[in-house]
Symmetry: C2
């Protein structure tokens, strides 16, 4: 897959730096974005911009979608002027956004019927991880197809895990988001208890970093909460969207996740209060005395 | 404080290895335990055993209490044959168990009226941390008193944080326990979603370890859940007791902690089902399909 042509659909906060890193690594990029103005930095870096997913996918060995939700992925793959109308047989379509595991399995089946391979390869690590090429990627699909795509993933990520069959990457991402949301909520509760007790929350964070309560969230989001710095990062409305995907997936398998449900409730209250574009760690502000 | 005499009250799972490490470090230990048979390994190692907290505290520069709950601490300090009847002026009384922050402030005041210094210095890190001398200690009280006691703490711990005035160590411990309980619950939900979705929870754990969802709990308790190994570790009934302390402290300051309340509910259901003596990560079993 070295120096192959890659189609890249969706150039938002995450997609743009990911596409740039692929160009820097020597891949030929064919890009499409709904808002054409966002393609300019990519074109300046050497990418070709196209007017539809279909055209951007033309003759690419691999097409990456990095769009907002499941419905958007389905539209850019199967819609009028969608990827499937442009690709050659054996092209690998890689959904790197966060989508429903069940919808992913359905899409993979539909693509397989057309001799097209799909991988679900959602990422964690945020904008900074995308810029630094240090994302974490969780991959579902056929192992052999994963191995073909691996050199591309290695440009984007520090940690790449093959999780299992179609949808398994999205299940892992759902798990990631429910752990992250609940850990943020837990840290918010702890620092709020410290503050309400007249104890310096920064000292409490320090004390907790050294023990079993250690988490990346305590380190990074805990610091954000102490500084009241809620510039995203990862926006509350996107975290809420991912939590809805996770809870729908759970409901489909017949289990209930009370902690994740509570965390989504926090995110929704934050959004109602106007915090949709803040970092999701701003749920800490819900715990401040009213 | 080098090679001083230390009184040590309470020789349970945590107290016993802590006391042994102090003996190894050259301190003279005077021990007391409610069940006299548990003192034997300490006596074999060179400690002197006494029949009351009062006698074990006699002529000690520092007296450590490591007993089960707030009522027990109050009894061993202030009760008949309690520590205060045995100590010399300027002795430092160090409560290393997990107690109520409010009760801690009251006890410190009462002791101050008798020219006795108190530190609250609860620990995190479990039995293994106690054995290895790698606990995390969170300390509240006067800074100068903390500095006097520091060499003793350094024998027991890898991470020692002076958090603030009397009770601040217990507030930090409460924060630690509410973060730990909720993170355990979050990891349990994630691994349960993976399993219910037909995805290998071990692979999901691997994928999550590399990103923002990383926590010590995911690493250690996540592995316990995958192996269904719930040998404590930290017993569910003790975690529930600590959560009650934390939630009482929160209620006293006028804040509510819905995530911590839910986590305590999980622990109580586990205990009702006969899991009181299991590691608290056994709350994962509550999420298995019934």
């Amino acid at each position: 897959m070295e120096s192959a042509t890659i189609g890249f659909i969706g150039l938002g906060i995450m997609g743009q730096p990911m596409a740039l890193n692929l160009i820097k690594a020597g891949y030929r990029l064919q890009v499409y974005a709904r808002r054409p103005q966002v393609t300019q930095p990519l074109v300046d870096a050497g990418a070709k911009s196209f007017d539809s997913p279909q055209l951007a996918a033309n003759r690419a060995s691999l097409v990456i979608t990095m769009v907002a939700d499941t419905a958007d992925v389905e539209a850019v793959i199967f819609g009028q002027q969608g990827i499937i109308h442009g690709v050659s047989p054996n092209t690998i379509i890689v959904d790197m956004g966060t989508s429903s595991p069940a919808a992913t399995r359905r899409m993979a089946e539909q693509l397989e019927a057309k001799n097209l391979e799909m991988l679900d390869a959602p990422v964690s690590g945020g904008e900074q991880g995308a810029i630094d090429g240090k994302l974490s990627i969780m991959v579902g699909g056929k192992k052999t197809v994963f191995e073909t795509a691996l050199p591309v993933f290695q440009v984007l990520a520090e940690c790449i895990t093959y999780v299992g069959d179609h949808g398994a990457g999205q299940v892992a991402k759902a798990c990631n988001q429910i752990v992250a949301a609940q850990t943020i909520s837990a840290v918010a509760e702890a620092l709020s208890l410290a503050r309400a007790s007249g104890v310096d929350p920064a000292r409490v964070r320090d004390a907790l970093l050294g023990g079993f309560a250690y988490s990346k969230v305590l380190e990074i989001h805990g610091q954000r909460m102490i500084e009241s710095n809620f510039k995203p990062g990862f926006k509350a409305r996107l975290h809420a969207k991912d939590m809805r995907i996770a809870l729908t997936a759970a409901a489909e398998t017949g289990i209930s996740l009370p902690g994740a449900t509570l965390a989504l409730d926090h995110l929704e209250r934050l959004i109602e209060r106007g915090g949709a574009e803040l970092d999701s760690s701003a749920i800490a502000t819900l715990l401040e005395p009213q």
